[in-house]
Symmetry: D3
Subunit: 270 residues, 6 copies
């Protein structure tokens, strides 16, 4: 299964990145991991690069020699617009532009359900609905999805955007009963996105095989993602420990949950 | 799993109501059952109320103190318009208006596939198609669905309308090979409708996990209903015992089956 | 242009009914007008019948001998459910069932935009969206639409439901800049609905040729309604005289306007 | 399970036909197999007819006495237009017209994914997309589908068109990881198409339960086809043995694969 | 306006072809007209070729030297399948294959509303609905549309298929009040189809600016066809002279009208 | 017509901004114009502010005291990502955030057809298709649209995004025959967007009443934009002076035209 010679995984020191580092350890002959933080000791087939992807030259150097990128770097919480402008957006440009210059074949990107977080739960949005970000965080994900579409349409660089739900050890609240993605399913999803014969520019939701589903992958079946875990076994405990939510609260009404309900990050800081 | 303190189940002496009475016995600390007919002996956590829900004061009294209603009362067969006007419609108003006045959180309603019974089988209608009732019975279900939508949109009272297929002990004819809903799946469906974190006004079809499916829950996955039974094991016997249907017969052509083919109830009585 | 021998117009003493009485005066050899109120003096080709259409025998007698019905009777404002149950619903049944028994060819019905009044303005609903009534008044219109669908699907009686916007002498507020239907356009709409070669069960919105349009007749073009009047000439005066609406107010947000914002009629009476 | 007295299977000497001959051996009391080639020895309930279905009288004779037809005859590879005109099209007419004259109840036809082969993979086409043939072979399938629609709409003869993917012993390349249909699933699909109570004119894709899916049966669930085999077990070997495809190559971009990429058959012969 | 050097018009002796011959007389420097029948005297910029387009060599010779084709040849009435097989289908192949070989830029084809004639009037089909032919005539049109799609997708040859309604001197019955296309509008439609900067494979309905519309060009606006005539002025006379149609008759129910209601051409001949 | 007390128009020294400055001169009691370049002499009701909107404090100061903003500032041509990051994105944030802080009621934004420039012409995209930018310029427009959606969904600030086609004095090439927007129609469009009673977050295409239309405002009719000019009168001259385009060229295939065909701005500079 050596479709790629060397895969770059960004954000490898982060929570999700670490899961991918472990889960994809045997997926390619060489794996290069990049992060601003220390990533520990390199395994035999690993290269560890500490760098800031918002630094163009550093990013290009990091990409050189890789034929696929799994781009998971980025602040996973709401943050001020200025941070987005300083970190997330330039890093994204550097990744796609670097990939174009260095002949990378495919990028798999950690987008987020928060790119469409203001869709209502009963709407059950598919992967073709217009963007509806619920935070500056989500707005950044929208931007990267559109950037990736441009690089596909114009320069033929393939991307799969994974609109990840809630990737935590266990479903911790009632919303996660539909939005939860297990770590193992995250690995399966990433592998499928790297393996599917043709993806062009594709978007797919990342949730496990949960009984409740507030998003639809009806138009993403060509990726071949089949989740094997489920939040359902956790449902009794979650229902026991958490109160019945108010259906009129914004956090319950839309798929973005608490992100949609949160205030402006600058207001919060005041 | 005590999201609700006291659930009112109407029609509890009926065939489906009895299944729910048994299936939901442990679902809430208190269960109040209402019917015009005798309901036997009350269990420890049960209250039995014999009343006519078309009587406004009786209905309101019945609702008082409950925080959820499972409304299954009603004549399950075709009946004259005058009966609908006298029984089904006023009872429905009394339930939703009583729920509004008494602060009920959510209603789960036994709607029916006959609300869209004139959709053709090959159309595979989803939960967003316009109403297409096949009987006065189905027309009454349409009315209650629209009433429930009004109470949600205007007064924020949540409802899930279960468009139940054929809830009988076993699939008895070829149409039931797709429309059958087992008693256990009916209970699962009702529990899911009571438990889903946010339903607003939602519609969902109630059929088991049958190989054939002439209706689609593609837009109802947020409810979290996963059927576990199937008509498929009964298929050999049903195919053996029943003749091949005429594909041009109205009862075969549309999803309402025999209901769609039946005459006007007043003509029948003449 | 004598497709029909005798047309029954109900509600002829009402505001819209009077416009139709005048506008359709030459449309058929005989016109029968029915209302609970006095309708003045009959013209040469008119028959005036004072009766209560909720009285079945009176309604049937009224229909006998007619081959088309223009059903405009009914309280055009929000009213308690009990009035709906006592008047609007039985009258509707009597009209369609009487039409079935007496071989009437087609019914044109004054439905209302309030049958889908809770659709949002930006949604621009077409004639295939599910019902979303904004009042008991609108709920009654939903019921009649569904009843008419049943009579077409089951007994082959054709109906066109006109979802009329705001039929007043002049557009009086900003919402009417899109919802206004002139009296002359109402007559054109009714004539088109009576004349189109095949309507089956059809729904069409009734608004004039206004620059703003918050509803879509994209699926109703087979009726052949071409409005010739427009609210646009009134726009400067309306904009001058009325304040800029609050976009977050329910009356601005949804197409039902003030009806959607109004309270429960029983609350109002308290 | 004797819905049909005698089923005609055409193309029984072909690869797929032979699988059906074996798989459907007990499905009806009598089975008549037709092919231009020798079909070996007849079993007890079999009749073997060697004939050219493009010969009208031979075809009609072959159909006489049958109440269902499984039409799988035809060149399964790209071929010149003139061969289509000489063989495939007249044979199809003879089958449907013969079926009409002899009162056949239902036809199950081996159509092909190549009838819509120019749909892109990310489009995940359903069974309601317009035709988009990728070859003269696919064009012939389009023609037969339209012919079958005409015979249903006009003369009430039912057909299910099976848009078969890749029916080979094993998935041999990466495209087959989504397009593969096992022989056993082909039999299940054909049985479902013969058994479903009402099909009118229906189209369904024929692929096994593969993780990747580039076509959607969302509107064909009324047929009741549940695949039980999967290409997934073959994925590791296929990925190992075949190179990563070029996503910009036509054969990768559209669902028709190599058929879409192939040249004009007359050019090939030059 | 000389986008093309020499345009071939086939069927120029036919009723529609003659209108195009006149209407397009100045559209290109050279016009070549082809028909099996005599076409009279050639104008200064005309070449007249009497030939049978089902004869491949004759067809290729006819195409040689042209850079656009307006293909209107063909029997405009229902005809037996064998005639389709002998004339219409081979002629179509010869036109598109000849165009491919001789570098023709674009073909405008007289398809027909009868390619989707079994769509119901209330459905108001757009240009993306699946084929639903109402005759062998309509089936032939479906075939040519699919053939044209193949030549675009595979060999980059552009086609616009004009689904012409009723192109007669005047609307003669009630159906033509929506389906009528004036001769002048036919010319406008053909010019638009030849002029639009990019058509790929496009389908467009050909009807005049009639108040009633049972088909929708919502997805064909890129062609730039703006009809200027209308059946509406003829409506009073048509309504006066023709009886009210039976809405349940097939000829009224579906857009194909009398074609859909006609029997099998072989039955007719018996 | 004084819905707003003071409107801020940004980019007033630009080509489109100047047209709006003139066209909206009487639309509000006070107009404030902002640009980085000199704007000449202020009229009686004008305030002219020279400032850089990417400077947050300057932008906020500029917004203070205004109740509506017409945001047209920005480089209207393709430009490097770094310029987008430095100018367009921060300016947009400053406008919407400033509007939130200063209680602005509504923003009308000059988005562009290039936000969806990679949609194909035959697709005729409506206002609900996902983004498909054709340049970094278009990517910036996508970002602002998503930002505006966030500010509506989260903070209730209304925006209309005008996806302007080609706003030049005259249509200069064949693509502009559909994409052209006259200056007067641009003013009408902006007025409609400021006047419509409720817009929430809305998108509308800005093209004149041209015969050809490659985009659809079917879901934007609530804005009330009725173009009165047309490119059609210029068609003969344009067709005469410009060659027939290659339908396979990217600039012809997609609605973005030359923008979609242009290379990477950094490559261009090399």
């Amino acid at each position: 299964m050596a479709d790629y010679e060397r895969i770059l995984i960004t954000g490898a020191a982060g929570s999700l990145g670490a899961q991918l580092r472990e889960g994809l350890a045997d997926f390619a002959p060489r794996l290069r991991h990049a992060d601003r933080a220390d990533m520990g000791v390199a395994a035999a087939n690993e290269e560890l690069v500490v760098c800031d992807l918002a630094d163009r030259q550093a990013a290009f150097a990091c990409i050189d020699g890789c034929d696929a990128i799994v781009h998971f770097a980025g602040n996973p919480r709401e943050h001020p617009f200025d941070e987005l402008l300083r970190d997330g957006l330039p890093a994204a440009y550097n990744i796609w532009e670097g990939a174009r210059r260095h002949g990378v074949k495919r990028i798999v990107h950690a987008s987020s359900i928060h790119a469409v977080g203001f869709c209502e739960v009963e709407e059950v949005p598919d992967t073709r609905v217009p963007h509806r970000p619920d935070t500056f965080y989500g707005l950044g994900k929208c931007f990267v999805e559109d950037l990736a579409a441009l690089y596909w349409d114009k320069w033929g660089l393939e991307t799969v955007c994974l609109r990840i739900g809630s990737c935590s050890p266990e479903p911790a609240d009632r919303r996660m009963l539909w939005s939860w993605l297990s770590a193992a399913d995250l690995v399966r999803l990433t592998e499928a996105a790297l393996t599917a014969p043709r993806v062009g520019f594709s978007v797919i939701y990342g949730t496990s095989d949960n009984a409740q589903a507030a998003v639809s992958n009806a138009f993403a079946t060509h990726i071949g993602f089949v989740p094997r875990d489920s939040a359902d076994g956790h449902a009794p405990a979650v229902l026991e420990l958490t109160p019945r939510p108010d259906p009129h609260a914004r956090a319950t009404r839309v798929i973005g949950g608490g992100f949609a309900a949160a205030g402006h990050p600058d207001d919060d800081r005041r």
